[in-house]
Symmetry: C2
Amino acid sequence: MLATIPERIAALRQLMEQEGLSAYIVPGTDPHASEYMAAHWQETTWLSGFKGETGTVVVTMNEAWLWTDSRYYLQADKELAGSGIGLMKESEPDTPTINQWLQTTLHAGEQVGVNPEMFSVQSYAHLQQSLGSKKLTLKSIDLIRPLWTTDRPAIPDTPLYGYDVKYAGESVTDKLTRIRSCMQAADADVLVTSALDEIAWLLNIRGTDVEFNPVVISFVIVKQESCTLFVSPEKVTDDARRYLAAQKIDVLGYEDVYSALHDLKNCNVLFDGARLNRALYEAIPDNCQKTDRQSPILLLKSRKNPIELEGERIAMQRDAVALTRFFIWLEQTAGKEPLTEYDLMRKLHTFRTQGENFVEESFETIAGWQGNGAIVHYQATATDCAAIDGNGLLLLDSGGQYLEGTTDITRTVWVGEIPAEGTPERERFERIRHDFTLVLKGHIALACARFPRGTRGNQLDILARQFLWQEGLSYGHGTGHGVGHFLGCHEGPQNIRTDNNPTPLETGMICSDEPGIYRAGQYGIRTENLITVVPGGSSEFGDFLQWEVLTLCYYDTRLIEMPLLTAQEKEWINAYHKRVAETVCPLLTAEEAQWLQKKCETI
Amino acid sequence: MLATIPERIAALRQLMEQEGLSAYIVPGTDPHASEYMAAHWQETTWLSGFKGETGTVVVTMNEAWLWTDSRYYLQADKELAGSGIGLMKESEPDTPTINQWLQTTLHAGEQVGVNPEMFSVQSYAHLQQSLGSKKLTLKSIDLIRPLWTTDRPAIPDTPLYGYDVKYAGESVTDKLTRIRSCMQAADADVLVTSALDEIAWLLNIRGTDVEFNPVVISFVIVKQESCTLFVSPEKVTDDARRYLAAQKIDVLGYEDVYSALHDLKNCNVLFDGARLNRALYEAIPDNCQKTDRQSPILLLKSRKNPIELEGERIAMQRDAVALTRFFIWLEQTAGKEPLTEYDLMRKLHTFRTQGENFVEESFETIAGWQGNGAIVHYQATATDCAAIDGNGLLLLDSGGQYLEGTTDITRTVWVGEIPAEGTPERERFERIRHDFTLVLKGHIALACARFPRGTRGNQLDILARQFLWQEGLSYGHGTGHGVGHFLGCHEGPQNIRTDNNPTPLETGMICSDEPGIYRAGQYGIRTENLITVVPGGSSEFGDFLQWEVLTLCYYDTRLIEMPLLTAQEKEWINAYHKRVAETVCPLLTAEEAQWLQKKCETI
């Protein structure tokens, strides 16, 4: 057993030498391009000791480096100490990318190794092309598997379960029929996917393999006459076996997918090169045609059916009850008992667990007090978190997985008393109010948008940013990401960002609407609802679409600078608050309802 | 001499047979991808008799078809009558594209001929790929030149002239230095361009070869140590020769560019495949590397220098005087004398010619009365135009070429009396007002935008459309096109459209701001200014940009539905009108100034 980092690096170098490799890259991903990874695949951590979520290790005969972003600089410094691995700060403009570094460090003719399971077809091709321009070659080989053996955690083998069609809204048979007709349109005989959210959606299965995403670690191959799930046998309980058999889904072992692909002959294989792992691609024999295009599952999954949408609305009610109870508790407790950001995370989780059909959180809650709210990916922990002391601003971004659907909401609220007029604290409060209102105006403008069929999210993005931009302000993240249905809190292909994205918005897609503003060291503000595309009427000028707001939680109106709002914006807030109160109050105790009613008072 | 269309088609088929071609395509373009073409290149007209601006003829052994769009259906029907050439209505959804038609009409192994001068490198490659998918091959060959001989108009040989640096704002030496450093950055030894606006800008030359665009028909090859203009000797007068010699520009004959490229050896040739004609590409020997990327001239040209911008401001004043005088004349004349749309076009031209340094119009004026205003590319002619009868709406889109710069402006005005309350005419007028105001709100919102450096035009597009979209309305054209400086009225790479365009907006770029609404058969509304990108301040969130409005012409405030405007929009209009009055009135007679002052009254 290789007990220390230097031993592991030395053993890797020995294998590299045997294989004629001058460099080896360990990218900190898994064979499914997952957002949340099982411990089995935490190869970067095993090799370097670095425990951050994003990091790539590159080892040559003389050097070893970890690339990670600014969120993890401090952590990496600590965790890499004594390992002999240096830190490449990838958010710094002068830091070379891995490709650049390899191009300048290695010499023409040298070879770089990677495990093709850890790269998408497209990212592998990109790396290959980039190395090729300096006459370096790329070799597919897994050098971690032979080294990391006895102490390696197994691939999770928790049971999978059938996801009731009363929640999914469409049978597996119907989904397969639609996918097969997409395959026919693409002249494809076979479709293969390694994307766990696509598999869970297509086969109406869910699992508990990883945190936050109820997916099942597996692969799928669809043909016209069959559909095969490749999954470890331990996951397939008797119930699961019966369920899968009823859906006419064949079951083979997880690793059998490679030989199943290898055995194909003279057919056209459809895959999504942005998501399929390269090892699967390499398993497809040369006698087959390879058709790389966006997965048809991706688009079908993104357009929620009426039952999925109805489920989302129900999940939103449960979430609203939990959030309302949390904010009542916060108002009653802050300033009276010692509280930390971590306490808030736990408490909010407790309120959510009281909701029917709550399964787990959809991501780790972000509770950012004052300056911590300005750190976009801030994560308080039990041992490292700020105390909620005095009056101040709290940014709270959280979400739940319910059997009926997935939620994701951010509210920024003022905790404590509003500072007295004429004090410096009041001046700060007024600055916060101004920023909060600009963010809210953008949040409303996006929610109110009406747009012709065919419009892309990047065309709408400016609606959320315009008021900030007018004052020379901005935020560095996207305005909206796609959201799954009792699946990933982040999903494609749609989004609302400044970047180009060719996907038109279509009815049933869910996006977040989350502009923000971050004043480093001072405070952060973000306001987020989930919104879904609904029909917006037709005219001689075409079909139009608009948004329905799904999230049901009041805004802290004490933070609004009223003169900045137009009459329409006030009307919108009042109508929204009326809907929140009418929908959520009946689910609360009389006392709680009274509290919420007050928060929803007409402005 | 081939006197009739059938004779020409028959002669072409004879050549096609000799060359083993099953089809020949004549695309109605020229070797420079010009917007306005010299008669010499009107091969489509010669071959088919069709005189419309956009049309492609495809001839096979048994068939001949003209593809054109809906603007030209009536004209094509008339002009093709008896020619044996059929009409393909390319705006109809069921009409096959030329590629589709060739793919279904021809058989694998057959050959299609085109003159490579008439295709860009990219469009040729696209055609080749599309034909290749059905195993058809493409052959580069000019079959029109041997047929269209004695009666073919010559390539224009009007003199070129040096464009004074007092207008251009940057010497040829400085421009060449900048281009050569772009070439170095791309590892290129040679740059070749066939784009006439790029050549005119780079060498500070202008000409009168075609209408509306003061370009010189030519090619240019830039090397590190030399710059060669390929142009017919007739164009190079003694003055021109002295000018070019002073700029150290070598001069060779127009057709010599092909041999000059052919003689290159082992060098890296930079070109813009979207604009370079394919024949030039084919002339580059195989021993040379070919680097296809956006022309560096394009981007430098699009960012106007301070002297170009100052010139634009001066041109706008001259244009404002002409437009003001025109609108005064129109108000005094309409309803008293018989007038047609064509009369308005001529009269406006007359007023423009009275301006200092006016050279020509920058495009054919669009004067659309009532329902004609709803036809986006409407073109009245002396023999086919509407009478300006009674009260109604006039859309007037026009522009001028001045030595100082290029203008392009659209105003929509109400001609005659405002209909009395309670009449159906008044109802129509109120509908027009409503539409006009939605368009104006979008026009103002775009002009008021502030945005971070790096923002693309397609991100801003929705600002101009949002108010129309909210009411289920829309327009089918771009919101803004780039504009040249005493060059093309349309230029890239920037624009403001719904389509993706990767070009960020940069200071000095000029765009139009022209939302509209078109009610078929009833009326059209468009409001257009030219706007230029200027610095918009910096903050901890980065550098911002904003717009300066260049155009100086009042809006018809009788057409505004006042309750739809916000206080800020009214302020914007009042500030703009104040600027128009202050800038333009001193250039008018007292009486004219008084008239304009009234149009610019505070609302």
